[in-house]
């Protein structure tokens, strides 16, 4: 079956656009490092969220999405590759070399994906203005996402047929509709399939979707998903371009590499979920007491008495986590915990004490007081950021 080849954009131009996307990423990263000098103040929370979303996309999201959505991209490329094959076969007789042009469908796929996710972000943000995700819901979501990612990685390693069920098969009526609608055009297939990726978000994307939901704003939700999808694009583009251009042997190597990363990310997400749940079984909570650090613990008596009344505890909420990571408090006595932020823009600001069902988005600079009720001797209260990245504990003795 032969079809007329439409005029396509030179792959070099598309590759240049890929590089431009990376450059945008680097600029955003630099802007982030100079955030304080930009004096964004009131908007800095939203701005740092966007930069974090972009960095998440460029570091982990791209590979994770590729693992889950790579199939759809391959589908969109199949049409283009088929055309290249037909054209190359035709030109072989005339001994003329034809360059493959898989970059164009990848580009279209990513543009459609970005538009679709931005719209999805707006929808989620709008929905989020009516809903509030509790830390418990968020924890369960993270655990589910972690299990999904681990299952997907094990599927890629072909560990057991059961793991094939971790791959979501788009409904037949959707694939059939897209295939038939896209028939006869060069651009429709990758555009449609790119937009379709909203139905099969990868684990990291799902976490970002939860964050977009949590913004409670259509504009911020859209901006967050756009920043994240933009971040995933360079990695997605480069890996997809290289694998389609350099053949199946390299693709197998990349898929193994992606599987390892997705497996690690899966465990990290699962561990984060356990942290937000306040479980002592999370890796951070299990290892903290195995490797105690003197600099990482303080008791009520150690708190700075000049600033806070006796019997109160102080916890510094920094960009790189909580200090001290272990607080010691007397048992059977209620006390106040002072959370101090000083130009803190990381997710450490989203402070959670799961056992007390306490959640607070702290100001970037200031002090917030938490009333801690009396606890039994020997018990431990775990605290964490809402992403489960930064953790700590209060030990009652």
């Amino acid at each position: 079956m032969s079809k007329q080849q439409n005029k396509s954009i030179d792959p070099v131009i598309i590759a240049a656009l890929g590089v431009a996307l990376i450059a945008t990423g680097l600029i955003l990263s630099v802007v982030n490092s100079n955030e304080q000098s930009l004096n964004l103040n009131a908007d800095s929370g939203a701005w740092s969220q966007l930069v974090l979303a972009f960095i998440t996309g460029i570091t982990t999201g791209g590979l994770s999405c590729l693992a889950v959505q790579g199939g759809l991209l391959a589908s969109s490329l199949a049409h283009q590759i088929e055309q290249d094959y037909v054209e190359q076969t035709a030109h072989k007789k005339q001994k003329v070399a034809v360059r493959s042009n898989s970059a164009f469908p990848i580009f279209l796929f990513l543009v459609a994906k970005m538009v679709a996710y931005t719209l999805l972000g707006a929808l989620l943000g709008w929905l989020g203005s009516y809903l509030t995700l509790s830390p418990m819901t968020r924890a369960m979501l993270m655990i589910a996402i972690g299990i999904f990612m681990i299952g997907n990685a094990l599927r890629m390693f072909n560990v057991h047929p059961i793991f094939r069920y971790f791959s979501i098969e788009p409904p037949k009526f959707i694939t059939r509709y897209i295939r038939r609608t896209a028939k006869g055009t060069d651009t429709a297939t990758p555009l449609f399939l790119g937009a379709l990726t909203v139905f099969i978000p990868c684990g990291v994307t799902q976490a970002m979707m939860a964050t977009a939901l949590g913004t409670g704003s259509a504009i911020l939700g859209a901006a967050l998903m756009f920043a994240f999808t933009l971040g995933t694009s360079p990695v997605f583009f480069i890996v997809a371009y290289l694998t389609t251009e350099l053949g199946s042997r390299l693709e197998k190597f990349f898929m193994r590499f992606v599987a390892v990363l997705v497996l690690i990310l899966g465990f990290v997400t699962l561990d984060g979920g356990l942290n937000v749940l306040g479980s002592p079984l999370s890796l951070q909570n299990l290892t903290r007491n195995l490797y105690p650090s003197n600099s990482g613990s303080a008791s009520v008596a150690d708190s700075p008495q000049t600033t806070f009344p006796a019997g109160e505890l102080v916890l510094s909420v920094n960009n790189d986590g909580y200090f001290p990571r272990t607080l010691k408090a007397p048992a059977n006595v209620a006390f106040k915990l002072n959370l101090i932020t000083n130009q803190t823009y990381s997710c450490a600001r989203d402070f959670v004490i799961p056992a007390l069902d306490y959640y607070e988005l702290l100001p970037d600079t200031g002090t917030v007081q938490v009333n801690i009720p009396a606890q039994k001797s020997g018990s431990t209260l775990f605290f964490t950021c809402s992403m489960g990245m930064y953790t700590g504990q209060i030990v009652f003795e």
């Binding site: 199939g71 759809l72 589908s75 199949a78 094939r164 791959s167 295939r179």
Partner: protein, 70 residues
């Protein structure tokens, strides 16, 4: 019209199923193809007076997969 199941052991993701299903648009005599990555199989409904099993296996091979009659 008959319906047959072919095992496709080398499918690696759900996109493979989509690629195989696209054969229903190009193969004369094929009414419907339902491929599943989960079951590593393809259910094909076709007119045996128009297309043979061998032609189906060859078309699947051209897509990059091995088809084995179940």
């Amino acid at each position: 019209m008959i319906k047959k199941i072919f095992k496709i052991p080398d499918m690696t993701c759900s996109a493979c199923a989509m690629k195989l299903e696209s054969l229903e648009d190009t193969l004369d005599g094929v009414k419907e193809i339902n491929a599943s990555y989960h079951r590593l199989e393809m259910v094909i409904e076709y007119d045996e007076s128009i297309i043979t099993d061998q032609q189906i296996v060859a078309a699947v091979k051209k897509k990059g997969y091995q088809a084995i009659e179940a």
